[in-house]
Symmetry: C2
Subunit: 329 residues, 2 copies
């Protein structure tokens, strides 16, 4: 079997997006910009209250993989859907984007996961995730041959919750390292870091080669107030840390190097959903195609810039075409 | 119960939209710009071949009603979904848009209908409709109280196929006329007219007060080559005919009047899906709010212009706000 650039394990979700006001968020006790896990009742209640919506396949790591294939890279996904219509939509869309995805839909248990996303007029997304079948991933779902084929294994912090998921992540990381592949991890969300700080710290120290985090996540991980303090910490805990700062751009840190790149200017920011996912896509594409860290970060900024200019968390136009001027060599 | 502007009977469908090339259409034997009815196998085959897609609630008459509520009007919908996820999406979206929809999802039989729409780079949509539960509508589904409450009953030509549907339409038309309401009908599609010409001619003569058709449909109905010939025919067969001609605008014909209105200029035509549906929305809003036929047609052109400027067949912004300058009175 051929080599792949990146294999990811993450949530298999369909996004349900609507435009809502900040008053709507307040009325329903939602924290603007945050991700909250919700149960079936809450999902039904919020969905009933939401305005007309659009369904687009999502899932953080899955979005990243679609960004990588849009740049011309190769990718495989490990995630869990149920045997229902939203599961079929998720599977269709990720395969249609050129990502290998061979999971058999689960016939028992919870329905496929979905993420109710309210986009406010400031282009910020507030996410309410009903994980459903997605959260029940275990070691048996980890296709070790697939993991071994990829230069990088990419793990999504959002999914870190049930004991079986943690076992699956550890098994996959061991598999990747045994054949000399790198392991990348995204902290995903500051609330997520808050819930799992000790385990995330241990994971970052022992298993993670490439860490993705935004400012809120990395300062939460090290319980520091200052971004620069967090940067000093992370520098000693993993090979590469790619730290994103929204409109301030990104900082890439290794033991010996620091690269600072600007955010890509966007005419009209429509929906920030997927900015972090696409930054990771561009960066991982660069890393797996022999580009230096500065160029990889620029690819990340470029991909993030594309995705915030329209509704939805996956690229709407070819990232390879957008990146061509940057990569002429 | 309060009065409504329009009640419609039509297909309850979720649109599945992807961007495809003309080569893709040729490869799969699809006729650009047409609507084709497909069975389960063909639906699965085409869906597997399509690129990443977006799901947005659709259905021609349902889209029209959402346009009417977006203009500030009131509307009710009669259509049939199954008790599945796409049915739930359809129901949520039409209710969230402010349209009354009280149908109980069917627990037996086919799944909810869907329309696979390929949007080509010329912004044209090619539609492949799997009707599913939607086509099984019968007289029992016609809520006669709801029909009686509306100034206009609007019927969708697409749904005209099974005997039960025809009975349902005739029952609804009789109900509307008995209480002095108008009956509007859209020919929907030239292939549709070709299949049902004799029945459509009879329906137009006997039951239809307001007819919507585009150039291909109205010339097909009267088997004439020339738009003007068709216009002379239709003038004697129903009270009002609203004939749309894409970028050439629209012509409104009554026994005594002819109004010609220009198409609304659009910067970038992204997806023509729903142009006819939204023309009907604007026109019916005007008709049910006391505007003259010329103004009603301008409202139609305005609503059509909005919907072709983005992906999807329902308005993305408030039509009432867009129409305000036209309606200052």
């Amino acid at each position: 079997m051929s080599r792949l650039d990146v294999v990811a394990i993450g949530n298999a979700l369909v996004d349900v997006l609507s435009h809502e006001s900040h008053e709507f968020l307040a009325e329903h006790g939602l924290i603007a910009g945050a991700m909250e896990l919700i149960d079936t009742d809450r999902a039904e209640h919020l969905y009933a209250a939401m305005g007309p919506a659009v369904e687009i396949s999502g899932g953080s790591a899955a979005n990243t993989l679609v960004g990588i294939t849009s740049l011309g890279g190769s990718a495989g996904f490990i995630g869990r859907v149920a045997d229902d219509e939203l599961g079929a939509v998720f599977g269709h869309d990720i395969r249609a984007a050129g990502v290998e995805f061979v999971s058999t839909p689960a016939v028992d248990g919870d329905p496929s996961g979905r993420c109710l996303i309210m986009v406010t007029p400031d282009a910020q997304r507030t996410m309410n995730t009903y994980l459903g079948a997605s959260a029940k991933l275990g070691p048996a779902d980890v296709d070790q041959d697939l993991v071994a084929r990829a230069q990088v294994l990419y793990l999504e912090g959002y999914l870190w919750d049930e004991a079986d998921v943690k076992d699956a992540y550890r098994l996959a990381a061991r598999t990747a390292h045994e054949v000399g592949n790198r392991v990348a991890f995204t902290l995903s969300d500051a609330f997520c870091v808050d819930r799992h700080r000790e385990e995330f710290l241990e994971l970052v120290e022992s298993d993670v080669d490439v860490l993705f985090a935004n400012e809120a996540e990395i300062t939460s991980l090290y319980r520091v107030d200052d971004f620069d303090d967090a940067l000093q910490h992370v520098q000693h805990h993993c090979e590469i840390a790619a730290l994103t700062r929204s409109e301030l751009g990104a900082v890439i840190v290794t033991r010996d190097e620091v690269h600072v790149v600007d955010a890509t200017r966007v005419g009209d920011v429509v929906d920030t959903t997927g900015a972090g996912d696409q930054f990771a896509a561009g960066f991982l594409y660069g890393l797996t195609h022999g580009y230096d860290l500065g160029t990889a970060a620029k690819l990340g900024a470029l991909a993030a810039g594309e995705v915030i200019s329209h509704l939805g968390a996956r690229p709407a136009s070819s990232l390879a075409a957008l990146a061509a001027p940057l990569l002429h060599r």
